[in-house]
Structure formats: structure tokens, C-alpha cells
Symmetry: C2
Subunit: 386 residues, 2 copies
């Protein structure tokens, strides 16, 4: 009861949905959403004013939700854990379309022309592709396996991995709604997540079953899978894995990729030309996200339990931890302003989002949100693989 | 008379300024502006619908104009050749502030927090810095020389070069309105334009007087100037230079920078790690802009007169010209959709903007505009150095 009362107090400054919205002229380049994982809702934020401006409810199970944006930065596509795909209008602050498209899903992507939204499914597996305007289904790609690491690739294509089957698939929609599928078989055991580099050239998936990663150069005429960092934890007793790291957070910084090791208290560095290991940084705990500040000079890292109250900031030139912040229990996600001046982070168990200056590490503000997890700014609309 | 009549016809489909604007809810992530250089006006475009949605007039001499956007993608700051600095509201389609801040100017930049707008001046020289909200002057930096190559640098800083003095200056506003200035002297003769890499790390200026370039690594504790590609045209008779190339169009692509040579029918390639020359591509004419498609797989090049009716597309892996387009006389500028699916280009002497698919090279549409030059999409708001 106390918790509910406290929340009600926290949320007083969020305008009621739909009130006075239509009369306000509002740009969308500075907007964003915070996922409220427990209540199935989104807080719409103005990142420039550093304030909440609205809330949209009724989005189902958002316990592992992610969000993509339409190219005009008006609509958010919300991928729920329960297979729900919801299109939210950030200007009207309302749900404009919603489909229960599977029983269990794990994220999605939007094509580079903004016309298609794809969803990766665990149950029954496969990828389903929807019209971005109406959410009508345009294509169904059964895989007989759980799909992970689904990302967009330039030219109306999507790339994804099959956890159970150890395969990487490329679905090419450049010819219309009937995709051309390329299958790369036997890439390794249990890809668990993946990224595409910012230029859309390299797809890298983590292999849970093999203590390594797999790389595909999508610029090759006939792309093939190549193993990298094979057995990076070899010869050492693996720790129990408390939470699988997320690879979408990987980013290139100063000619190296920083990536969270699985089951180790380390960030791994990968040379971005040779894809050889280029160093390791010891961290406070098992990293979940290792995200580069947009200028690449710092990588910010959060952690699996029990270390998930802490953030470490690593300098990409020295590889040293240069700052430690302890925002509070359950720091689940970080999102940078697109030009890197500040970073927002969810502090789930304290029902707030904290905002920090990325140079002085000074706290700039906070926003109330119920059990916040993912934070997504509309600037992602203009980037590949985000 | 015929020309005027034709224009009037072409422009019929542009709504009159201010009409019914306020009633329409509109996102700003898909907007852009086309500079009409002869008439001192902007056409506001919806790049997703591929149409003109409005026009704003009274911006003075836009014969060499450039544009920056506020972080929320609502306001365009227009830097006119005559020293005029104008703030345009893309939603209201109106001028909201305008300052004649010098007698002759050559572009500007906006700080990474969106609070400051800086303008590079030829006459009387120097940089003036304005409040982004009100356009009140916040700082005046006299240089006793023409300023070129002004770009934003992370952390509320600006970098620029002095044509007459051969210097590079860094103005740091992170401590407030009184900037801290760092001067790098004797960098070489006549820097004519410059770029900052997308991560804000390297500043590269072209040296007109020395047939080479100068590089500054802004991550160094004490940044210093280093000469690169020294005398790249050595031993050959220089051609007359019909138009100085623009360096803001340079971009990294597959580990190399493509850059337009001065007075040569060549694109130069520069290794992005060593900054050594990494090849040359023979082109149709003297390049003006060499701009990478956002995925870096292609570089699109336009040319100085007399070859300025043509575009060449260079594959960045092979370095070969893979496509030639002839849109018409006076192709002055190109702008890519942020995820690279299409490119817009101004065809000045035919009063239109043409839109091409960047994979099929098919023409997707065109938009009427009077003597169009620069095209700027709001997605630039989220990038450094653009």
C-alpha cells in the first residue's frame, strides 16, 4: 500500500493522457520513452526539458521490452515479451495499433525505408513482418527455432540468429513482400544476441554454447560466418551467469569494439579492423550493457545482480575505469543524448530515471517512472541497427 | 518572362506560408529545408512524403548558405553569405529571430548541448556566438583574419581555421560565456575549409596554399597540428581551380576517408587510422563534394563547372566509378536520407530537386525549388560536425 501511495505521488507531475495534447505544437526530435516494465506502460519524455510529458498504458508484458521509431520520429513500435506489438503515437500520446503477434517475443527491427516492422519470436519461433502503417502482417518466416539478435540491414533487409539451430538468416525484402532468405548454417552453438555495426556492414553474434562469437561481413558477395575471440574464457572456471549480456549495446570506440564478456567480470576489446582481441578491462561485476558515449571516448557499463546498483565509466584510450557511480538498485539501461552530452539511466527499484552529465558526472535531474527499464530516444530513428 | 511563369506554375503546390499550419500535428524527424539561393528563401520539405510543405522568405543573401538544426529538430539556423543569421521555425513555417551579425559570413555551427550558435565571419573576420533561443550575442571572438571551417566539437566547444593567418583555434565554452581559446599557430598556408570526424576526434583542414592538409587529434591533452598528404599534386601542373571543394562533405567509408582533391580530377583516399594516402579515383571533373552514403559503401561526387551537370558514384571497396548520373546543369549539393535509402540533389539551373534510390539509381521523385543549392535534413541535429 505504501508503495502505491508513493508512486501516485511521484506521478502527479505527469499530465493525464490526451489532455491538451492536440493544441500543442511539438517537435519530435527531442522526445523519448521510458519502459515501465511492471505496469505495461511507457512514460513519454522530453529529453531536452528533462521531464516527463505523458504516459501511455495497456501495452501488456513489458518485462523485456524494446522500442523502435518511425523515420519521422512520431511513432514508437513497442515489442513486448508476451508477443504484443504496439504502435504508439508520441504526439497524440495514444496507442494507434496493437497486435498480439505471437506467444513470446524478444525484440524487433524496422526496415531502413521505414515501411516494415519485424519481430523476433521465441514461441512459436520465427520472424513476423508487419506493415509499419497498419501493423497488418506482410510476411511470416517460420524457423522452427527461437529467434534472437534481429537487426535491420541496409536495403530493406533483416538479419537474425537461431538460438536452437545455430544459424544466421538474412531476409531480403528489397523485391517486395516475399522475402529472399539466405541461411548461414553451423555458425556455432546457441547464439544469444547480436549486433550490426553502425555502418550496417558487420553482424556479430555471441555464442553462449561456445565461449566465443561469430562475425559475418555483409558486404561480401556471399556472406559467410567466421569465428572470433574463440574460447575467450578458456582454461578458467566459468562463473554462474546471472543475466545474459545485451549485444545491441556494443559500440565502436577509437578503433575498438567494447563488449561485455559472458559470465566474467570483464569488458572485452576487439580490434575493429582485424577482429582480434585488443585487451580486457576488469569490471565491478558481470557486464550487461557496455555502451559507448556517442563520441567513442568513454564506454559506460552496467552489471548483472548482485552488482546492478553500479555504473562504471571506462576511458577508451587507456582502458581504465575512470569513474564509478552508484545510482541505486536495479540500474537496467542507459541511453545517451545523441551528441553525447548526457546519459539517462533507469534505477528500477527506486522508481526513477537519473540523468548525468557525461563530462563532469554531475547529476542533472531525475524523472519518476514505475520500475523503469529500457530508455529509448527518438534519435535512434536515424541510425542503422538501433 | 517565360522563366517566371514556369516557376509560378511549378510552385503552385507549395502551401502559402502560415496557412492551416497550426492545426496540423506534425513530427519533425522527417523534415528538411532546401535553400533557394537566388530568392533568399527556404522550401520546407517532408522527405518521407517526398514533397514540399511550405516556404519561408526574407532570409537575405543565401548564395553560399548553410543550415544547422536545434536538437529537437524544430528550428533551422540559416547562415547567409551577407552575415545574416536567421532562426526559422519549421512547424510554424516562420522566421522567429534574425540578426545581421556581420558583413560577410561563411557558415556556422551549433554546440552539442544546443545552447549556442556560432558564426564564422569573413568581414570583419572572427567568430560570433549567439544564444540559440533568442539570438542574443553571447561572445565575440575577433581574429583579425577570415574564419573558415567552423565546426562544433563535443563539450560545448568550437574549432575553426584562419584563412589569412594559417591558424587553428579551439574555443571552449564549457565554463560559460567567456570562452577559453587555444591557438595552434603556423599550421600551413590558407586553410580553406575543414571537417571534424563523426566522433568529434579529428579536425582536418585543407591548405590551399600548400597542396596538402593539416590534421589535429582533439583527444590529445595538448592538441597539435600535423601535416598529411603533403604536396599531393607535386610535380604536376595545377589546373585552374573553378570552385573550391567543400570538406564538410568528407566522410569515412570502410576505413578510408574520401576527399575531393583541389584543382584535380580526382577523389583522394586517406587511411582513417594512419592518415596516409590510400589510393586515388579518377573522376569526371574537379570534385566539389565527395559524400559517403551513410553505410559507407558508396561515395557520391559532384563537380565544379564545366562538369557540374554530372554525379559519379564510387564503390568504396573497389574505388571504381560504378554509376554516372546526369541530372542537369548546376548540381550543387546532395543530401542522403539518414539511413541511406535515397539521396536528394539540387539541380540549380532547372529549378528542381531530384530524388534517387541509392541502390537501383532509379529516380523516385522531384520537387520544384527556385535555384536550389543546399539541402539539409533535420536528422543532422543528432550528429556531430553536421
Amino acid at each position: 500500500m505504501i508503495r502505491v501511495a508513493a508512486l501516485a505521488g511521484l506521478l502527479l507531475n505527469v499530465p493525464a493522457p490526451g489532455v491538451a495534447v492536440a493544441e500543442t505544437m511539438r517537435a519530435t526530435g527531442g522526445l523519448g520513452v521510458v519502459v515501465e516494465r511492471a505496469s505495461g506502460s511507457l512514460v513519454i519524455v522530453d529529453r531536452i526539458a528533462r521531464e516527463a510529458i505523458g504516459r501511455v498504458e495497456g501495452l501488456g508484458d513489458l518485462s523485456h521490452a524494446s522500442v523502435k521509431f518511425s523515420p519521422d520520429e512520431r511513432y514508437a513500435y513497442v515489442f513486448g515479451r508476451d508477443g504484443g506489438l504496439t504502435k504508439v503515437d508520441l504526439l497524440e500520446e495514444a496507442v494507434v495499433a496493437r497486435e498480439m503477434q505471437s506467444g513470446n517475443a524478444i525484440g524487433g527491427a524496422i526496415s531502413d525505408d521505414g515501411s516494415l516492422v519485424a519481430v523476433a519470436n521465441y514461441e512459436p519461433g520465427g520472424v513476423r513482418v508487419f506493415d509499419a502503417d497498419t501493423l497488418e502482417m506482410r510476411a511470416d518466416i517460420p524457423t522452427a527455432a527461437k529467434v534472437v539478435g534481429l537487426v535491420d540491414m541496409p536495403g530493406n533487409r533483416f538479419v537474425f540468429s537461431l538460438w536452437d539451430a545455430g544459424e544466421i538468416w538474412i531476409a531480403d525484402f528489397s523485391g517486395g513482400a516475399e522475402p529472399q532468405i539466405t541461411v548461414l548454417a553451423d555458425v556455432g552453438a546457441n547464439p544469444y544476441d547480436a549486433l550490426i555495426t553502425e555502418d550496417g556492414r558487420y553482424y556479430i553474434a555471441g555464442l553462449f554454447g561456445e565461449d566465443g562469437l561469430v562475425l559475418v561481413d555483409l558486404w561480401e558477395e556471399e556472406p559467410r560466418a567466421r569465428r572470433i575471440l574463440d574460447g575467450y574464457g578458456r582454461g578458467e572456471e566459468p562463473l554462474p551467469v546471472y543475466k545474459m549480456p545485451h549485444l545491441e549495446g556494443w559500440a565502436e570506440a577509437g578503433g575498438r569494439f567494447a563488449l561485455p564478456a559472458v559470465g566474467r567480470h570483464e569488458v572485452l576489446w576487439l580490434d575493429s579492423q582485424s577482429f582480434e582481441e585488443a585487451g580486457r578491462t576488469k569490471t565491478h561485476g558481470q557486464p550487461v550493457f557496455a555502451v559507448a558515449r556517442p563520441d567513442g571516448r568513454q564506454v559506460w557499463v552496467n552489471f548483472a545482480p548482485p552488482g546492478n546498483d553500479t555504473i562504471e565509466v571506462v576511458d577508451t584510450v587507456s582502458g581504465e575505469v575512470i569513474e564509478t557511480l552508484v545510482p541505486g538498485p536495479g540500474v537496467l539501461h542507459m541511453e545517451f543524448a545523441p551528441r553525447g552530452r548526457e546519459v539517462w539511466m533507469s534505477v528500477r527499484d527506486e522508481n526513477r530515471v537519473e540523468i548525468y552529465d557525461t563530462r563532469s558526472f554531475e547529476k542533472l535531474g531525475e524523472i519518476a517512472a514505475e520500475s523503469p527499464s529500457g530508455i529509448f530516444f527518438t534519435a535512434r530513428a536515424h541510425r542503422m541497427g538501433l
